[in-house]
């Protein structure tokens, strides 16, 4: 494996030395620090065991599973329409986006195609889930670095998006709105105009974050060159989403995969960054939020009329077979492998969530950094605990 930065090299050397000097009494041994499961920076229950030499990390090991809720198993005892209630809670900030790949997989099995309007609206909600999710990251990164203020702006402006979701679905966090063959209901009156106003707000929020954080000298110094993940390493660990795009890999399922959803009708851009450091990850996510707002506005402008629900049987029985569907969720690639034996519910569901793979790079990337940088890197990798443990 290639070692990228000088600090990682020196840490590698010192960790070798630490291993070698176990029996020499005069040397200090270093300290094992347990970050989490209860720690302000893990926003959830991730535990990271780090071995420190002073403030430098010799090695780090993430321990997950404190929040395992057994969703894959629970799906097996639910009917297909009931599953969306569960999977909402996987990436709890990207609520609606969790439902879409599962419904797509079920639709594949049933060979049903949702009507055009439903697909467009799905895409709208999908991108709004992305905005709700990533905008919180944009503020939270500041908190992890010690700047308290941006996160309040993020919460404030995210609230407008959540209000929109609530107006349509009735649920702020857990809309449970996607159905096999379409959506539960159509838009309420006046929603489109309001949504466009909110998207302007989201754009100005992004500008504000760019001003407040990215223009800040200290933020720059804390993030540039910290936690560099080369593209090859990122790919080896199966990273996806903004994390891998920040390492220069131009890969976005919304564009690269032939999906029934409406991204192909919009004019938008997949942003990548060559650096692969914490700053690049922040930058890419900021651009993605802007693109998401652009996509929403374009879709709302060209929204086709028509039904929002295809003809499906009252009692949904999915024919036997296997299907895989994945989408580019706010955190990265999320996919469902659904095995059906023809019953009311799935026989087996395998959920591929992005955060689990994204944090698996932690032992590699944390080697040799300082304790404050551990937090920077964890924050910039942006994982959601529910998305790691499912």
């Amino acid at each position: 494996m290639t070692l990228t930065t000088e600090r990682q090299q020196s840490a590698y050397v010192s960790s070798q030395a630490a291993d070698a000097r176990v029996n020499i009494e005069l040397e200090t041994e270093g300290m094992t620090l347990n970050i989490g499961p209860q720690h302000p920076a893990t926003h959830g229950t991730l535990r990271i065991v780090v071995r420190l030499d002073g403030e430098q990390v010799l090695w780090a090991e993430p321990v997950c599973g404190y929040m395992h809720r057994g969703y894959e198993k629970l799906c097996e005892v639910r009917t297909y329409p009931q599953v969306t209630t569960l999977v909402n809670r996987i990436d709890w900030l990207g609520h609606f986006a969790n439902e879409v790949p599962f419904i797509l997989a079920a639709e594949k099995l049933m060979e049903i195609e949702a009507p055009e309007r439903a697909q467009w609206l799905r895409t709208v909600f999908f991108e709004m889930a992305r905005i709700a999710n990533v905008s919180l990251f944009l503020g939270d990164m500041g908190v992890q670095l010690g700047a308290l203020t941006p996160v309040f702006y993020a919460f404030r402006d995210r609230e407008y998006v959540l209000n929109l979701m609530e107006a349509v679905t009735g649920g702020r966090f857990h809309p449970n709105f996607d159905r096999i063959g379409g959506l539960k209901e159509d838009l309420p009156k006046g929603w489109v105009a309001e949504a466009k106003r909110v998207m302007t707000r989201v754009q100005s929020f992004c500008d504000q974050m760019e001003d407040l954080l990215m223009g800040n000298e200290i933020f720059d110094r804390r993030c540039r060159g910290i936690g560099v993940i080369p593209a090859s390493v990122g790919l080896e660990y199966g990273m996806s989403g903004a994390n891998i795009r920040a390492s220069g890999v131009d890969w976005d399922l919304r564009r690269d995969e032939d999906s029934p959803l409406a991204w192909k009708h919009c004019d938008w851009k997949v942003w990548t960054h060559a650096d692969g450091d914490a700053f690049a990850r922040y930058w890419v996510r900021l651009q993605e939020t802007r693109e998401a707002a652009k996509i929403v506005v374009q879709l709302l402008d060209g929204l086709p009329s028509g039904p929002i629900q295809a003809k499906v049987p009252r009692i949904i029985k999915v024919p036997a077979g296997e299907a895989w569907a994945h989408t580019e969720n706010p955190l990265g690639e999320m996919g469902y492998y659904v095995v059906s034996k023809g019953g009311l519910g799935p026989f087996r569901v395998k959920i591929r969530s992005a955060s689990f793979n994204n944090i698996s790079v932690i032992p590699w990337v944390l080697r040799g950094v300082f304790v404050p940088d551990v937090i920077t890197i964890l924050a910039s990798l942006y994982f959601i605990l529910g998305d790691i443990d499912r």
């Binding site: 992890q144 010690g146 700047a147 203020t149 702006y153 933020f219 404050p372």
Partner: protein, 340 residues
């Protein structure tokens, strides 16, 4: 107009001690309410506390009462004696700071000849308490936080002292009363009605002083010792109840005291143009209070705006920038003093 009351030494001392003991919580509550609760909230587009008292004015009083009622927890493996003593040591250093700050021509606990020197010396005592707290807590986060605090103090005590040296040279005295008098009697290019607040001549010193005070107080860009996203609460992690309250009071009490020293050194202290004599004893505390709020505003403004520096970057700022700049400031001050 003179007061003909003659008090014995022990009487004046008792009065002074009681006044200082009363000033510290009041200062902590005023700063905490105005800046930490209200200014920060408004900067973050929220209201902050609104329920306790009008506009939440009594929030910190309520918080204080709550802290006193809380259980006083000692961690199982802590060094109980040191653990219990540490908050007292920290508060003690804050207490000592107030001794030399003049609030009027006669309103000063003790006008030491080496007032500035004394203030800067005792302000660094608090790190002893911090180290004691970090070591005795038997907690790794506390330990890291305490060691960071110690490293930070060593780095920032120096620019703080050097920034003050310029003022001392210009005033020709280390007594804080003397420095105030030098500012009130001075004149700028022959115009004397404003006096000569040293901020006009020592603006570099003022900037360095503010930054170093920020670090000395562990406020945000330099709050490594209590970095809550990394070290939970640093050296305070294991503290509860009134011992935590001691740390809190000491933090804001010190912020008030250092702001007061900054106001005294650079903004003319209790002096207000055109007011002198016994009247200044009445207006002095108010004038000084206003100036303190101004300096504290800057300190807290930084705190709510900037992200945190990393430990090595923090050392670099002190050793590579602040110390050379303040040394150059001393040099220029010295040259100008000899020339004019």
């Amino acid at each position: 107009m003179t007061f003909a009351v003659e008090l014995a030494y022990w009487q004046t001392t008792t009065i002074k001690v009681l006044v200082v003991l009363g000033v510290i919580p009041v200062a902590a509550i005023v700063l905490g309410y105005v800046f930490l609760l209200k200014m920060m909230s408004h900067m973050q587009s929220r209201l902050g506390p609104m329920e306790a008292g009008p506009h939440g004015t009594l929030q910190l009083v309520a918080d204080g009462l709550k802290f006193i009622q809380k259980e006083d927890i000692f961690p199982d493996r802590s060094d109980r004696f040191v653990f219990g003593l540490a908050p007292v040591v920290v508060l003690m250093s804050t207490f000592l700071l107030y001794i030399v700050i003049p609030a009027g021509p006669r309103l000063v606990v003790e006008d030491l000849d080496t007032g500035v020197f004394f203030a800067l010396a005792v302000s660094s005592l608090s790190v002893l308490g911090v180290l004691m707290a970090g070591w005795s807590s038997a907690n790794k986060y506390s330990l890291i936080g305490a060691l960071r605090a110690a490293g930070q103090l060593i780095a920032y005590e120096l620019p703080l002292v050097l920034a003050v040296v310029g003022v001392v040279m210009q005033a020709g005295t280390m007594s804080l009363q003397g420095i105030v008098r030098a500012q009130s009697e001075g004149e700028i290019f022959g115009i004397g009605f404003l006096g000569n607040p040293f901020i006009f001549t020592q603006f570099v010193g003022f900037a360095v002083f503010l930054l170093a005070a920020q670090a000395e107080l562990s406020q945000t860009p330099f709050d490594m010792p209590v970095a809550e996203s990394e070290l939970v609460a640093g050296f305070m992690t294991e503290y509860t109840g009134f011992r935590f309250l001691f740390f809190f009071m000491s933090e804001f009490g010190s912020a008030f005291a250092l702001s007061a020293i900054g106001a005294t050194l650079f903004l003319g202290g209790w002096h207000f143009p055109g007011i002198g004599g016994s009247l200044a004893d009445v207006t002095g505390p108010l004038v000084l209070g206003a100036k303190v709020m101004l300096v504290a505003f800057f300190i807290f403004w930084f705190r709510f705006t900037f992200p945190r520096l990393r430990e090595d970057q923090l050392q670099a700022v002190a050793w590579k920038y602040l110390i050379p700049i303040s040394l150059a400031n001393i040099l220029v001050t010295g040259v100008l003093k000899v020339l004019f």
